[in-house]
Symmetry: C2
Subunit: 243 residues, 2 copies
Amino acid sequence: MGKLTVVGIGPGDYENMTVRADRALGACQVIVGYHVYVNLVKERYPDKEFLTTPMTKEADRCRMALDAARSGKDVAMVCSGDSGIYGMAGLLYELRGEAAEPEIQVVPGLTAACSGAALLGAPLTHDFAVVSLSDRLTPWEKIEARLAAAAVADLSVVLYNPASRGRPDYLQRACDILLRTLPADRPCGVARNIGREGESWTVMSLGQLRDFAADMFCTAFVGNSQTRIIGGKLVTPRGYRDV
Amino acid sequence: MGKLTVVGIGPGDYENMTVRADRALGACQVIVGYHVYVNLVKERYPDKEFLTTPMTKEADRCRMALDAARSGKDVAMVCSGDSGIYGMAGLLYELRGEAAEPEIQVVPGLTAACSGAALLGAPLTHDFAVVSLSDRLTPWEKIEARLAAAAVADLSVVLYNPASRGRPDYLQRACDILLRTLPADRPCGVARNIGREGESWTVMSLGQLRDFAADMFCTAFVGNSQTRIIGGKLVTPRGYRDV
């Protein structure tokens, strides 16, 4: 029986991987993942066996990884960002169930909340919520309720999966919900292609975010009532200055 | 004029640092930080100048870092976890104000939400809120409102700073607020000393979390309505199995 390591590779470049993730990929025999993420690491670990599946085949991908470990190989399953935050670690535990083997190790990685915030400035210095706008696996009403609650509670909000080809208007719909509570001039920002070719970031208002042409490579940030734009950067104070 | 890099070193061990954080600390001349965090990295980068301040002197620490950069040195400010999430990046931008110099670079790191979740299993596979229970800089009423909103919106919740010597009962108070909405058997967990000596994790119910003797080295996780304990691990499904 091999072991299975679920590796968060961060945004995608080598520099933003942890030492532990790098060592885990170096030590395994098989790398399993969504083909785009596998391609991000293939060059650095060329002497591995690679197993890939298309985008929406998450359960197939996890069964493939579990089967490879059961066949005696040490397997690394790669996830972009963190291995747990909207990642595959949960599904692997679900599919393994109460069996003790294969051993599962979760190696965390930089999620887009961390890596995108660092590009934009420091929007997450205070309490925040992370909400995915993808309704493939979650009823839209539940997403709406979470956005509304976050706005009322004055949490900064990080929006994952703000749009895709099949959902071009989801960011607009999310902003409309936030705008019921928050002012249109609330400072916001978008990070795109974090840690990859064409990396960019833009600071804007919530009103502008509503009409922003986001795509699946974007992560959006909505400030709290204290968030300001300082020197062109999106900054949420923690309150240290007043101490 | 030197440049200032704000480095999230992750939980504290070398393995959980990113390659970029390691390189930034290797390349700088001066390392500034809270003395506990500076001690975590001192051995690996011995040929640096070290500037430290005690725990609550955040503004002094940031001014020290800005002054060192203004004096022509390349400075790294170390933060535990991420450099932005409850970290010093925001205060550095605030104190620099609209000046273009010194240049500030934010290097993200693994925050306890990511690294603690990986220890416990996969509690953050779905939307979540991160809330600090420290009321040194935030009115307790605001913290309460955020906890209540997160519970009603069925967000998983990560509790930072669940207790300290001056606030031994804050976790209990926070759980009491959550228990107004959530059942006492809601799966929860605590990660302690993540990535450091004596690292440990415990899965428990919300009722047990209420009476857990947390300290400042703990991060607590409260599951959402779907979270289950599977094979001893805390797992929040994303819904992939049902697709």
